[in-house]
């Protein structure tokens, strides 16, 4: 009986000792970092600072960064430039003095730079510096000003600022298009260009058409000059 009690006492003492050890706070290591930005158009340079990482004991021994585009770097504070558009997972791995390691990540959006849209048209006349085109005149629209910094323009979509009698929009496509306006008025010409990365840009310009009857309801603006020839 006495032996059994001693064994029980010994077991209890061991358990209490183990519990005291277990109650000691466990070491904590947490990777944390800041980024100067998470979304911008390429070339996109981001500064990363991992000094916010936390360890409850000792010091952080090493910082390893992977940027999601195959590149990596070491050090608490680094910089990286993304030259290709895409979504990247940047990850910081920290290792403390005891060899314990942990990591955390952040998503970076490197955006495709949008193309630039623009066009010219001809022929055009002017009165006191106000340019206009005439009814029934074939106007050539040229999107040669449109460009893409990192690729090429693959689509040119034009809207000539009004709807046809059947309700469809007066549109065109291609880098150079021609169009005849049958009614006098002010039309907003809109060019939308799409580059090979899917980026889009629009450019719009108001165009005065003179020499014909007043615009229909789809055409905005006043008709400043109505003494020209008669459309239709």
């Amino acid at each position: 009986m006495k032996t059994a009690r001693l064994i029980l006492l010994l077991c209890a003492a061991l358990l209490v000792a183990a519990s005291l050890a277990g109650c000691l706070r466990r070491a904590q290591l947490q990777a944390l970092f800041t980024a100067t930005d998470t979304e911008a158009t390429i070339p996109f340079t981001v500064g990363f600072d991992g000094t916010l990482s936390y360890t409850s004991a000792g010091e952080i021994d090493s910082y390893l960064w992977t940027f999601g585009d195959g590149a990596s770097e070491t050090g608490p504070v680094v910089e990286h430039t993304y030259s290709e558009d895409g979504t990247y997972e940047v990850r910081l791995i920290v290792v403390d003095e005891s060899g314990l390691s942990t990591s955390t990540g952040m998503t970076i959006h490197a955006l495709n730079p949008p193309p630039t849209a623009g066009f010219t048209y001809s022929p055009k006349s002017h009165i006191d510096g106000d340019y206009f085109v005439s009814c029934n005149e074939t106007v050539t629209f040229d999107a040669a000003e449109a460009c893409s910094d990192d690729g090429s323009i693959v689509a040119y979509d034009w809207y000539f600022g009004y709807r046809n009698a059947d309700g469809t929009a007066a549109t065109g496509s291609g880098p150079v298009v021609t169009h005849e306006f049958l009614h006098a008025g002010t039309y907003t010409i809109i060019l939308t260009v799409t580059d090979d990365d899917g980026g889009t840009a629009t450019f719009e310009e108001k165009l005065d058409v003179m020499g014909g009857p007043p615009c229909n309801a789809d055409i905005t603006g006043d008709v400043p000059w109505g003494e020209g020839g008669t459309c239709q």
Binding site: A12, L15, V16, A18, R25, Q30, L32, Y54, T104
Partner: protein, 264 residues
């Protein structure tokens, strides 16, 4: 694990009728320390974030204010009721149910172009059912005994978080606590062991105190949608463990169910 709890309760109820020996019913409570290791480690990280923001805005010309860090969840209060059947004059078996609670909170704001509030309130509660034994190894009026038990622990964890970073903060932080008021639940298995000191004030009443160590498995807690607790917001779930020490004062009522009216 719910099956184990049912088994423990069934064992508790049947033991009374089956053994019909001296029965001791006890209740008590007292301060308790729980490790809540992963949670407290995450609290350390949240505090590091708060400290970083405090340091940043302490020198910022357009933002004023600071936020106190969270206290760790290492202490709380436990209340227990239980019963024990004495099989011999020095060894008894029994079961107990215990309620444990611990909480921490902080609130503050940064006043810049707009007021950014940091309001954190965390609370852990557990209800446990344990079954085990007590062996008295020293009886000189005062009784010194060793306790051991295994049990089932049901955990509730409440997280109410508002963590607003002023727009004047220049960078993006990789992880911040997610806003929300969410309750997480889970359960773990564990064991308890400790020492108790009892003084029989009267044949029917005993005053005692005990120190018990509790060790539980580390278990995940999840909200109603199944999403696990993530205090820091870095995508790494925080497990709950209830490892810790409880010191309690207990009051026991002794009912002698044996036929001869004495301990066997």
């Amino acid at each position: 694990m719910k099956g184990l709890a049912t088994l423990l309760i069934a064992g508790l109820l049947t033991s009374v009728g089956a053994l019909a020996g001296p029965l001791e019913m006890s209740f008590g409570g007292g301060p308790t320390a729980a490790a809540l290791g992963t949670v407290n480690a995450s609290i350390d990280v949240v505090n590091a974030l708060i400290t970083h923001l405090n340091e940043t805005f302490a020198v910022h010309p357009d933002v004023a204010g600071s936020v106190d860090p969270l206290d760790p969840m290492v202490s709380g209060f436990a209340f227990r009721i239980g019963e024990r059947i004495w099989l011999t004059d020095w060894f008894g078996v029994g079961a107990a149910a215990e309620y444990f609670a611990s909480s921490t909170e902080t609130r503050g704001a940064y006043d810049g172009s707009e007021v950014s509030t940091i309001d954190l309130a965390l609370g852990a509660k557990s209800v446990s059912i344990t079954a085990g034994g007590r062996a008295i190894f020293l009886d000189v009026g005062l009784q010194l005994a060793a306790d051991a038990a295994i049990g089932y622990y049901y955990v509730l964890f409440d997280r109410a978080v508002q963590f607003e970073i002023p727009t004047e903060y220049p960078d993006v932080i990789s992880a911040v606590p997610a806003d929300g008021d969410v309750r997480y639940t889970g359960s773990v298995l564990g064991f308890e062991a400790g020492l108790s000191l009892s003084y029989p004030v009267a044949p029917w009443f005993t005053l005692g105190s005990s120190v018990t160590y509790r060790s539980t498995a580390s278990g995940a807690v999840a909200d109603a949608t199944g999403e696990e607790l993530d205090l820091v917001g870095d995508g790494t779930p925080d497990a709950i463990d209830l490892d810790g020490i409880t010191v309690r004062l207990t009051f026991s009522i002794n009912i002698d169910l044996s036929p001869d009216g004495e301990k066997e």
